[in-house]
């Protein structure tokens, strides 16, 4: 479970996130939506404990993010699939992360298999396509079989087989009672996969509802989303 209360983050004079309050519950897939620059990545970084909030609190499974003794068991995050050392193999990348908590080598092997990287595991991660990097990032997030999973745009760069695999994976994780927070810009995908939606814009909460709830009265989720976020779009083509 992720509990966010009055979360605010300022970088100098820029307020990235302001007064966010919401709860992400276990057992369902929660979509995290918002225009570019809305503060989704900043929020996710604070959930992982990479940035400290200016004010407000974030609790992951009841504790602040940096307080867990077995962090990979509590939270698995994929924020940037390209964040790997280029000359290190996928296998060694995962082994090093797993080793910090004493997670066994066998777990790394079975995850490499499960994400579909078995053939590429000993190749330098710098040579991976975006899709392969996504798979590696997901494997890294799932190393400790975490209770809570947060994924930032996981289908970005995946082929059709990959997109369907993610769809099934997210459903499987939620079915196991895990907390799943997924950010995405693909409304069609979100409509299929998510139950609840958290929509933010310009650092503020715009909606905390179900897919059905947001889509009500609109032709599609995409229409409903655009209608909701129209005023909060940061970057718009002329």
């Amino acid at each position: 479970m992720i509990e966010i209360h009055e979360l605010t983050k300022r970088y100098g004079s820029v307020t990235a996130v302001s007064g966010l309050t919401f709860t992400v519950r276990p057992g369902e897939v929660t979509g995290f939506l918002g225009p570019n620059g809305a503060g989704k990545s900043t929020t996710m970084r604070m959930i992982v404990g990479l940035d400290a909030p200016t004010s407000g609190t974030v609790l992951v499974n009841g504790k602040p993010p940096r307080a867990h003794a077995a962090p990979l068991r509590e939270l698995g995050a994929m924020l940037d699939p390209r964040a790997v050392h280029p000359s290190r193999s996928a296998c060694h990348h995962l082994l090093a992360l797993a080793r910090t908590s004493g997670i066994r080598r066998g777990r790394v092997d079975e995850l490499i298999e499960a994400v579909g990287l078995a053939g590429a595991a000993s190749r330098g991660a710098g040579k991976f396509s975006l899709g392969m990097s996504q798979r590696l990032g997901i494997a890294a997030a799932l190393l400790g079989d975490p209770h809570t999973v947060i994924l930032d745009e996981p289908v970005n760069g995946l082929d059709v087989e990959g997109i369907r695999w993610i769809r099934g994976l997210l459903a499987d994780l939620a079915a196991r009672g895990k907390t799943v927070l997924v950010s995405s810009h693909l409304m069609s995908e979100v409509a299929q996969t998510a139950h609840r939606l958290i929509v933010i814009g310009q650092g503020r909460l715009l909606a905390d509802t179900t897919v059905a709830g947001l889509s009500a009265g609109h032709a599609s989720l995409e229409d409903a989303y655009v209608h909701l976020t129209d005023d909060a779009v940061e970057y718009r083509a002329a």
């Binding site: 404990g49 990348h93 994976l169 079915a175």
Partner: protein
């Protein structure tokens, strides 16, 4: 458990995600082991290490060969220190190992991997200590054979003109093995600078500044002040250990010097730790 339905278009294979229920916990020992995996699979670090070994052994032997071809006369002959000849490569190797140490951490900031590392070790400082431990141990372990090769090969070259010394002579073993220790500490200094500055180029520049620049600056100050100041500069102090008979006028004692160098390194590491634990990743 809630039941979820999702729309299926054609075949869909449910993901079979394996469960993992064995105990897991972050410990400093495990973080050290993880850092060792990272070091030994980081190409750039391995090349820097190979460079350090090559420079140490290579220059030691080369300088010995040069001197054997043109033996020193007069005052130079009186002050001649055969051990120092074999250890002359340390001057350059210190940069190579400093760069190695820096790259252990700057590569993570550069690639963004530091976020995954801190997600796995949210208390962060165990990562810095883990990197320091493996840098210290790995560079020492690699430097010992390098200095021994430099010494024994170099001395056998010098023996041809009767200028050699032997490992058993007083102070020689300490100077040779102490040089390996100096390199190990220099690697940790590089790591500290890398963690503080988070950027390879900046860290290397700072490394040059601390190891060469300060010494030069102190040397420019005239009179006794300059001489005294130079004794306490990081590289001069650290390399006192490499001197078989350090001159008290221009150098600290061997262990005091190495200790001071280690002290500077600890200060840099402490500053890095402060930045690391407080800052945004």
């Amino acid at each position: 458990m809630t039941t979820l339905s999702y729309h299926q278009h054609g075949h869909h294979q449910p993901a079979r995600l394996p469960v993992y229920s064995l105990p897991q916990r972050v410990t400093q020992g495990r973080v050290i082991a993880a850092e060792w995996i990272k070091l030994r699979t980081q190409q750039s670090a391995l090349w820097a290490g190979a460079g350090a070994i090559g420079l140490t052994a290579g220059f030691g032997i080369l300088y010995a060969a040069l001197l054997a071809a043109r033996p020193p006369h007069g005052a130079a002959a009186a002050a001649f220190d055969p051990t120092a000849v074999s250890l002359s490569g340390i001057q350059l190797a210190q940069i190579a190992v400093g760069v190695l140490g820096a790259m252990l951490i700057t590569s993570e900031y550069g690639s963004g991997m530091i976020r995954a590392t801190f997600a796995a070790v949210p208390r962060r400082l165990p990562v810095l200590w883990g990197k320091a431990a493996v840098a210290l141990a790995a560079v020492f372990a690699a430097s010992v054979p390098a200095v021994l090769i430099a010494f024994f090969a170099g001395q056998s070259v010098l023996a041809k003109v009767g200028l050699d010394t032997s490992f058993g002579q007083p102070g020689v073993a300490r100077a040779v093995l102490g040089s390996a220790a100096y390199l190990a500490v220099a690697a940790v200094l590089g790591l500290g600078l890398g963690a503080l500055l988070r950027n390879t180029a900046a860290a290397v520049t700072a490394l040059f500044g601390l190891l060469f620049g300060l010494q030069l600056l102190a040397g420019l100050i005239p009179g006794a002040t300059g001489v005294t100041l130079e004794k306490f500069m990081p590289s001069t102090a650290g390399q006192a250990i490499a001197s078989v008979h350090p001159d008290p006028g221009t150098s600290l004692g061997p262990w005091a010097g190495l200790g001071l160098f280690a002290g500077y390194t600890v200060i840099v590491l402490a500053l890095a730790a402060r930045r690391m634990s407080r800052g945004d990743a």
